[in-house]
């Protein structure tokens, strides 16, 4: 029994960097994200008997974190949502966490997505889960995850084009139009 618990602890610690990355991507405010990770660790520890050893502990932990995130959101109500970008503004306090200014712009765009779309694109696009695994974590249909990821991509594309017209988008398109017309 003690031996099993040691294995569980070791696997949990090994998953912590990924769990934190998921929480910070999901929430934006690093302090709040770490509070959520702490709550997740306590929940996971309390229900470790329900984890089947040998199965995917990462998916199991992500599911707990995700459910905890939504239950806290429901408890606190809508006002904690970062609709005014208050938490995002605090990013300047943690510059190391997001590296370049470029990534800070991306972070802001990500925070503007609806929660379900943001979580879907993170799980599939960054955490390395398949659509099927992501659907299981979010307890929804695979098709729902696919459409959320697709809508998230489209929205991010729109948001980033508005913020960074010089980088890509209108420029590359106008180049194409010009070369087509005058070739």
């Amino acid at each position: 029994m003690v031996h099993q618990s040691t294995d569980f602890k070791r696997d949990l610690i090994a998953s912590l960097p990924k769990l934190r990355a998921f929480a910070v991507s999901l929430i934006g405010n690093p302090d709040r994200a770490d509070d959520l990770v702490q709550d997740t660790i306590m929940k996971a520890w309390a229900k470790q008997d329900s984890f089947a050893p040998g199965t995917n502990i990462k998916a199991w932990l992500f599911t707990i974190l995700r459910n905890e995130f939504y239950s806290q959101m429901r408890k606190r109500g809508r006002e904690v949502q970062d609709s005014d970008g208050i938490f995002t503004e605090q990013l300047s306090v943690h510059p190391a966490q997001y590296g370049s200014l470029d990534l800070q712009d991306f972070r802001k765009a990500l925070d503007k997505l609806p929660d379900d779309q943001r979580e879907a694109i993170i799980l599939v696009g960054a955490s390395g889960f398949s659509y099927e695994e992501a659907a299981e974590i979010c307890s929804c249909a695979v098709g729902t995850i696919k459409s959320r990821v697709s809508r998230a991509r489209t929205r991010l594309q729109e948001l980033l084009e508005i913020q960074g017209e010089v980088d890509y988008g209108p420029d590359s398109i106008s180049t194409q139009v010009t070369s087509n017309k005058f070739a």
Partner: protein, 84 residues
């Protein structure tokens, strides 16, 4: 001499380009360009998303989490000893 040679070459090139345009219908070409632009944007979004994620994942695990797990583990061991 060189100028004359060039001016002779130029129309040949233009005809070649025009023939190529005649052979391929314009709609698939536009669709191809649009698909490529969408793909490039998706790649860019994917790269930034993974970069953001990696920047957090590569950080050291905060001590508070390791301390917490140590305490949870210790409490469980003490509890197990008491019930023995």
């Amino acid at each position: 001499m060189i100028d004359v040679h060039n001016s002779r070459d130029e129309p040949a090139v233009k005809i070649h380009v025009m023939n190529a345009k005649k052979n391929s219908s314009e709609a698939p070409e536009k669709a191809r360009v649009r698909r490529r632009d969408i793909r490039n944007a998706e790649t860019e979004i994917g790269l930034k998303l993974r970069a953001l994620y990696a920047s957090v994942q590569e950080e050291e695990i905060p001590a508070r989490f390791l301390d917490l797990l140590e305490k949870l583990d210790e409490a469980e061991r003490n509890h197990a000893q008491l019930s023995e």
